[in-house]
């Protein structure tokens, strides 16, 4: 059965530049496709949407009893991204207090000016360059600077957190039949070190708050609304990594998509008002997050297939985004697309916490870059991709200006 090897083929580095034909094959094979290791792969829009809203589906890797393409070995309590309600709700709500409405409605919006300033500085530095790397010169520095500012992390410690981030993100990769013992050990260690670093930073702000989220976390006056040390470590590591890792890919994928489609690039240059919708379309067409894992709490029936409790189910969000039963001409990048309810930020209770910042950053980055791209060309197409199949994006995107 070819369809039983789909996940293996999707995660095969060979197919990183273009997994979309494999997603089409997945949707052809049916709504629920069993993999050789006993896990399931789901790539149709409506089934993914239903499962993301189904309270019987768990995000917690600890309830898994059957094979998973994800690495194992997580024994400590995961961050809220991989917890279920009510614990997920409690931690997410506490993490949201200094970040968004109702308690901090202005935090993200107040970043607008700063984001504009950062993009301006970045483009200024590239003024006389003939060739640049979109990833290293632009798509990475912007979100890392923004998340450092939001959390209150000194930008100078970059070398530390870049190494930690790489190790931690590697453990979140997906790939069947691989020995991940060493990778997992390194990842766990990085997670611990980074957590300690962030908690120490936060502790320095106790009673001496600076206007950032770490300060807010440790200076919360209501004891019932405070994170424990362990929760603070897990939460801030999650916010730091999720707060920049995916945005890098969103911006880079955006530039790549536009350079491959000069008529759309031209369209956006003439109509900058379309930019917010173009970002939404990018989130559908080339999303940074391709897959998420869920595990049923009880035996559940999906489109005629019964999936046993504890079995790993991989939701191919990027495939759902290209499902022709949901989107008209799904393989076309169309910034004017109406009714664009994509899975770019997931859906349901785990809907991306940082979506408002990601949108702002992507709009600012593309808005700044587009006027400079008119005569640009790709040095390498496809560009070299990062190893990760789940968080997919180019490692470098060299372009000639």
């Amino acid at each position: 059965m070819d369809s039983e090897t789909l996940l293996a083929r999707i995660t095969d580095y060979e197919n990183r530049p273009n997994p979309y034909p494999l997603y089409a094959e997945l949707r052809e094979a049916g709504p629920v496709v069993r993999q050789a290791d006993g896990s399931y792969l789901i790539g149709t829009y409506h089934e993914i949407a239903a499962l993301l809203h189904d309270p019987r589906m768990s995000a917690d890797p600890r309830i898994r009893t059957a094979p998973s393409p994800y690495p194992s070995g997580e024994t400590v309590k995961p961050p809220f991204l991989r917890l279920d309600d009510p614990e997920h709700h409690r931690l997410r709500t506490l993490a949201m207090r200094p970040f968004g409405p109702p308690h901090s409605p202005g935090r993200v919006d107040a970043m607008r000016g700063e984001i504009t300033r950062i993009t301006g500085e970045l483009i200024e530095e590239l003024r006389d360059r003939k060739q640049i790397d979109i990833v290293d010169d632009f798509a990475y520095p912007l979100p890392i600077t923004v998340i450092c500012r939001l959390l209150g992390v000194p930008r100078e410690d970059e070398s530390l957190f870049q190494a930690w981030t790489d190790s931690i993100v590697a453990t979140a990769d997906i790939g069947p039949e691989e020995d991940t013992t060493e990778r997992d050990r390194t990842g766990r260690q990085a997670r611990q070190e980074m957590g300690l670093y962030l908690v120490n930073l936060a502790e320095q702000r106790r009673d001496r708050p600076t206007d950032d989220m770490l300060s807010a976390f440790v200076n919360e006056p209501d004891p019932a609304l405070r994170l424990s040390q362990e929760e603070l470590a897990e939460t801030t590591v999650l916010l730091f990594i999720a707060g920049h890792e995916t945005t890098v890919n969103l911006i880079t994928n955006g530039v790549l998509t536009l350079l491959r489609q000069p008529e759309q690039l031209d369209h956006l240059r003439r109509e900058p008002g379309l930019l917010p919708r173009a970002v939404e379309e990018l989130l559908r067409y080339e999303p940074p997050v391709h897959m998420r894992e869920r595990i049923p709490h009880a035996d559940i029936d999906i489109a005629g297939t019964t999936i046993s409790q504890g079995t790993s189910v991989v939701l191919a969000l990027a495939s759902g985004n290209r499902d022709p039963r949901r989107f008209h001409e799904p393989d076309r990048f169309d910034p004017t697309r109406p009714d664009n309810q994509h899975f770019g930020f997931g859906s349901g209770i785990h809907l991306c916490y940082g979506a408002p910042v990601a949108r702002l950053e992507a709009e600012a980055a593309l808005g700044t870059l587009i006027p400079h791209l008119s005569t640009a060309s790709l040095v390498q197409d496809p560009p070299p991709y990062r190893q990760n199949a789940m968080l997919r994006g180019p490692r470098h995107l060299p372009i000639q200006l």
Binding site: H53, P55, R56, S58, D85, P86, H89, P296, H297, I300
Partner: protein, 457 residues
């Protein structure tokens, strides 16, 4: 009727949400004929949900809730003039200014108005309000901004509860009088009404249940000063909001021969109005709060809904059917949904909670003030209400649409011990409430069974 459904004269009576959406949809669907929209208020279509929330909180003014027009409707908007009659034979709508509008097809979308205080003299006291229109909301908001000593709210349905919540958020003392046993009991049944009562009291509302207001008192100069209650007590207040539910605007249809009554204008699933003999018309359509339509998920009972989403969905179906030949017409089968925000809680509902005999707390708990309550009728899921847990709603909606067995399947995250215990849904007789329910099952109540007598031999 002209052969070409895309041409001719269409009149829409009602210039609110349903009327506007219908007008937009008619043009989207290619209608090129003449379009007239009649509204008794002088304002262009506006949104009502903010009136009892942001407007009363002083966060938005009543004249800023205009509904966005999604496209040019190219319609003749006759605002500030009420329709007074319908001649179905001559196919004309009579207007209050003496004019009459000829039509080929008509859409009735006249909605509802606030049920007034039954004693007109007391109702006219300065300081006594109802809350339905933008003007009413503007007047009440002004009075709340002036800092009254106490506000009396009569009726603890959704509108009454939202008003009480807004008052407390502004630090205004408020008394709520409800004839039923608890707030929201008519819409949500016993379990959630207990939570609602706790929320009122925790936020400092002087909540009086099981009482009625017998008299509104004035100071002799026409100013409201307080009210007498059926338990012999008296409430001194400067402002009174009468939140007794809604009255359907059907009086203008009295001589039309349509099946129009206190519960609305009856229509088929395609929004075509019935006449008083139950014969379906093909040129008169109905949409929004004023309509009553059969719904297969709820035993084909005729439903009247006062929900934003229903007004939109039904207007779109009605408009589509007005310009489409029979085989291309669509049924209006949307699952009812509504939301409310009060006392810091987000309440969302799907299905018809009053169409139930039992409920179960499927997720969360009353103590956590975060829960999903699933309603069942005769062993199948018919509704769900979430409090601060709206992300689960789609899942429960799917259970309703597929008539899934009640209680719902095991395995939900955040499942309390109580999740295995079904309890009576405790939906009271609507006649025992101060306010009208926002969903009316206008056929028979679910506790009454009809028996079909089969002929023998």
């Amino acid at each position: 009727m002209p052969g070409d459904l895309q041409d001719g004269r269409i009149v829409i009576v009602g210039a609110s949400l349903a009327g506007l959406r219908a007008a937009e949809t008619l043009r989207e669907e290619g209608f090129t004929g003449s379009l007239t929209v009649v509204g008794d208020e002088p304002h262009p279509p506006y949104d009502r949900p903010p009136l009892s929330k942001q407007v009363l909180l002083g966060k938005a003014s009543a004249d800023t809730t205009a509904l966005p027009m999604r496209r040019d409707t190219d319609a003749d908007w006759r605002l500030g003039v009420a329709a007074t009659g319908l001649d179905p034979l001559e196919k004309r709508v009579m207007l209050a200014d003496g004019e009459s509008l000829p039509f080929d097809r008509l859409l009735i979308a006249t909605g509802t108005r606030a049920r007034p205080w039954p004693n007109p003299e007391e109702a006219s006291l300065d300081g006594v309000f109802t809350l339905r229109t933008s003007d009413e909301a503007g007047g009440l908001a002004e009075r709340l901004a002036a800092g009254p000593g106490r506000v009396l709210v009569i009726g603890a349905g959704f509108t009454g509860s939202e008003i009480a919540s807004a008052c407390r958020e502004r630090g205004i003392e408020v008394t709520v009088a409800e004839r039923g046993p608890a707030p929201l009991v008519g819409a949500l049944g016993g379990t959630l009404s207990k939570l609602a009562a706790v929320m009122h009291r925790n936020h400092g509302v002087d909540l009086r249940c099981g009482v009625t207001v017998t008299t509104l008192r004035g100071d002799g100069n026409g100013r409201f000063t307080g009210a007498d209650l059926s338990d012999g007590s008296r409430v001194d207040a400067d402002v009174c909001v009468v939140a007794l539910g809604a009255v359907r605007n059907v009086e203008w249809l009295a001589e039309s021969g349509l099946a129009a009554g206190p519960r609305g204008v009856a229509c088929d699933a395609g929004c075509r109005a019935f006449n008083m003999y139950g014969i379906v018309t093909d040129d008169v359509f109905v949409a929004g709060d004023v309509s009553r339509f059969p719904h297969p998920l709820f035993g084909y009972q005729m439903l009247s809904l006062e929900h934003w989403g229903n007004a939109v969905a039904q207007a779109e179906v009605a408009a589509h059917n007005m310009v489409s030949p029979g085989p291309l017409r669509r049924p209006h089968l949307a699952v009812p949904t509504f939301w409310s925000t009060q006392f810091g809680l987000n309440i969302k509902s799907v299905g018809v909670p009053t169409y139930s005999d039992h409920v179960v707390i499927a997720q969360g708990s009353l103590e956590a003030r975060r829960l999903a309550v699933v309603y069942g009728f005769q062993g199948r899921v018919t509704a769900a209400v979430t409090v601060d847990m709206a992300k689960s709603l789609d899942y429960y909606k799917h259970l309703i649409e597929t008539a899934a067995p009640f209680p719902p399947p095991l395995g939900s995250a955040d499942r309390a011990i109580a999740a295995d215990i079904t309890i009576p849904s405790d939906v009271p007789d609507p006649s025992g409430l101060s306010h009208g329910p926002t969903v009316a099952l206008t056929g028979h109540l679910p506790d009454r069974r009809l028996t079909v007598v089969q002929p023998t031999g």
